[in-house]
Assembly symmetry: D2
Homo-oligomer: 329 residues x 4
């Protein structure tokens, strides 16, 4: 049983707390949030203890591992402190909003030996993982074109947008990691930002975007993002290769189809958002983390993945603003 | 160019006339209907001649072949007269409403040598034919269970129902032929009739039914019929075998799917009715007829098929009325 | 927290033990099986205690409720003993193989007041339940025809078949309950049995069947069963009504589709068998049981449901043997 | 009856000749090709006359309209000569490979009054047209993102590639028109070319590409092209709007689905190539042309459409070579 603390009792903290509490090899020991009642409420839900200061987590001898789900600017401080305290760490994305903060952290992190993993949960989604495995298996020959459709059901509040680092760091970051998961190193980024919502535009951000990524291999990935989708959380992927193609389709709560005088074989709206859509992925991500910690092996996602996804986000931000493609080395 | 006359300028006559007119190897020469204006209007549509008396068709030296689309009681007289006049004949289903009429006809028909084919158009539907070919090819191993869903968009007028011979002779007849097409000889029939519509009940007929057919091979076919379907003409089939299953799904006019806040990937209603749904089948049926006539080969459907389908219809009628299964020899 | 014991450490016992252990409102306290090691192994998996004698379960003050997953002939004795001991009971299907055993039990059961529920898990399947709710909601108008396709991935060993009570009591029992769930009282049963497998035939049972059920309402249900399906556990349902139709489709582990030179949009095989296919249903069934126990309300399935499903199984058995339909009152 | 001549007896000439011959309002009178046997063979297929010199077509008083299906460099000369001779013209795409040739033609064309239409056949595809109509109808709210997947089954010979004007002028030209059909004026083009095939690379062309188009409205279109697709001619489109999305899916010859131990609900490969995939579109395009000619109305596609699609092709070519986006005015 791995005894795990969760830092941050917000939306993502709730996901992790619930996932840990239900996991047969894990135990939720401690929930930490500066808003004490938030920590207490979440802890109470799962029979765990609560605290307000992150330092209490790092000092707690009954904590083996820490899930960092605090606001993005605190990711690096919490990650480093936990690692230095000898805790295994699973850190949420994005690692930071600014690359130079990350570079500094990297040096420090190189000095610690506890396992540190980064929360690119979609790599653990059963459908995406199956497509990836089938591609690796040669089922569609050489991969030529990857298309990722990723649309949120509704935009977050403008207040959130303002501190989010922008759509590419906040939302596309997952798609960048997915592109790397399939295609490896990316050498060129071109992004087109769209302003469909006036409020988000006023906040200086885009609310939709199309990003083209050229991989070192010659393959190209296209990411189509929108902060809004009428049918729910639209998460699809298509890997097209020399000998075939693989598709990961949207998920619905049931397999029910309806036919009447207007529509036939109509399915339900997609699952609402990431909590529902990626419930399995969060669970399998946690399993991979626990397994790595217990076996002493390298976790499947590293700070390198976090850095490279952030670098793509920075490049896309620059490209969408300048209109010019950005070359990476 | 096969010069073809159509007897009967009703709904099915229109289908055949149009199919013949558009066929590269056929020419519509003559349309015959006792209601002279009906014949003239249909003939005019396709640049053909018109007449009121069937005898004119049989005597016309410019007619090589006759499509019999007259009311069911006239099928046998027209069929025999045409065949005796040396015309090739394509006769609509059902051959008759009463088996003893057919038995008499059979003896006379044995004496003629012109090709005579019966209009089981669904055998020529590209999807059903492809399933049949794949089954024959061993793609799903030994066929064990066949399920036929066949629902009309809306019931015909009660006046039609009254002279139709009942749902099994009028509607299920096609499904009986389809069952024989896949399973060969049927040894037992059990039918449950449903009365969902009061008017049709008052006319002494069922408007929905479930029929179970046991084949000599041990396979079982289930036919599910309804005179009404909200989404259009519901025509599906599923062949389940030892090593797999094959499905022929409904057809829509386009491949469009719609997603919004209520439905996702919703398709259009099914094609409206047999004219649209089986347009290809009528065309391919005509091709098979022309090919047999021109090559002097046996047409793909025979009076035997017509008789055996009718026998199943009679058995189902008896079963639905008595509640008992009917054994065939 | 409801403290639950499981009697029977076989396949279904494993399902329930796992479901209970993972349920936030339940605790697995005790596992009972005459084969002591089976009980111990299963108990150890979930940190519960083990025993060999059912009497220990009934006498245990730390057991609030009992899940009866023993062999069918023991269902009634275990059910009654548990209920008389004041335990809430969730009993697996079929309640018994013989109706007179059930009638005797019913009288005794009427005298107890603890909640007793019967394991018709498919009522809790999210897709079937959603179809049922939509029908009840009037989404497709009056229900006219229900079609249930239910095929197991592979037949059980002939030794199991011999004591199973036959396909209708052992396998179709679930489909009978599903038909009742949608259509209410059934007035006529007609069954056709198939012998596709020689070994099962030698054991005096059918391995495939088609059953037609006439409901008091005039609606008809068709059940198509097979002990074998090449693609996995084939569990589908289609409810066709006056204004539309609803379909519950098969489930796969992922949403992945594959296209290559031979196939397009090919999905994975269906989930393997009931453990996987109905994992959610078992969980939701348990939730419904716990909720009824804790709220003191009537559980959603009763001995009446168990009896009526068994009566349909008996009628189908008789019909398949005699070839005649069986009327129910 | 519109009497139509076809210039060019190549692949596209065959499509048009067949479509004209089968059209109830058209008559194929003349087929012209410098390779006399090609013209004669095609003419013979449909009972038309043949000639070698285009001048004979323009001078023929029995020709009301001309379909120009000659090699691209002859499009403008043939189009102008036919129009000046008073013939209605349906000209294949692309109008030319070089914009300055087109500009010269435009001035001359402005002086003629006969109807001239350009062959953007996909606008007439029933599925694409239905999506377009539903978008125009407001079914998905304001259109935000359009995604066009367009992959040929196999690359043409390198000899063809060399004179084709490159992938953007030869293949993407249809997708550019489709983008304009949905989004209207395009203000920015960014293209990434891919070299998956060495032979095509050596010929100086790309064989796959991703193009991003920014529309004046703020909507963005993404075009994903590949000269190769293992499953056939991959032609899909997805229009995503504020209130929903519409999809036009691939087409197969039948609706058959196959399930076995490896795959479930597997469909057939897509239709092979444009002759099959767009047969309906060519027919409906011809109908629109005939209708415009006979009613004296403006045809639905104009030289403006041809010019604007070519301009997008030129911009994409420049962008793919330079790596920079190209702004249009």
């Amino acid at each position: 049983m791995l005894r795990i603390a969760v830092i941050g009792a917000g939306r993502i903290g709730h996901v992790h707390a619930k996932t840990i509490a239900a996991h047969p090899q894990a135990e939720l020991t401690l929930v930490c949030d500066p808003i004490g009642t938030a920590a207490e409420d979440l802890a109470a839900l799962h029979g765990a203890r609560a605290c307000k200061e992150a330092e209490e987590v790092f000092a707690d001898p009954e904590v083996d591992a820490v899930v960092v789900g605090s606001p993005t600017p605190l990711h690096i401080p919490h990650l480093l402190a936990a690692a230095k305290a000898g805790k295994a760490v699973l850190c949420e994305k994005p690692i930071a909003l600014d690359m130079k903060d990350v570079e500094a952290a990297r040096a420090e992190l190189d000095a610690v030996t506890t396992p540190v993993m980064f929360g690119f949960n979609r790599r653990f989604d059963p459908s995406f993982a199956a497509v990836r495995a089938a591609v690796a298996d040669g089922r569609i020959g050489e991969l030529e074109q990857l298309t990722i459709i990723s649309r949120d059901p509704a935009a977050p509040p403008v207040e959130y947008i303002k501190v989010s680092g922008g759509i590419f760091r906040d939302m596309t970051i997952h798609d960048f990691d997915m592109a790397r998961f399939f295609l490896g190193d990316i050498v060129e980024v071109h992004a087109v930002g769209q302003n469909l919502d006036e409020g988000i535009k006023a906040a200086g951000d885009f609310d939709a975007a199309v990003v083209t990524l050229k991989a070192a291999s010659g393959a190209v990935a296209t990411i189509i993002n929108n902060r809004h989708c009428a049918s729910g959380y639209d998460q699809r992927l298509e890997a097209s290769g020399r000998d075939g193609a693989l598709f990961a389709e949207n998920i619905r709560a049931t397999t029910v189809r309806l036919s009447n005088a207007e529509v036939t074989d109509a399915q339900e709206p997609y699952l609402d958002f990431f909590l529902e859509r990626y419930a399995d992925a969060y669970r399998l991500e946690l399993s991979a983390f626990i397994e790595a910690v217990e076996a002493g092996t390298t976790p499947p996602t590293s700070i390198d993945d976090a850095i490279k996804a952030l670098r793509l986000a920075e490049a896309a931000t620059a490209s969408a603003k300048s209109g010019q493609p950005v070359l990476l080395d």
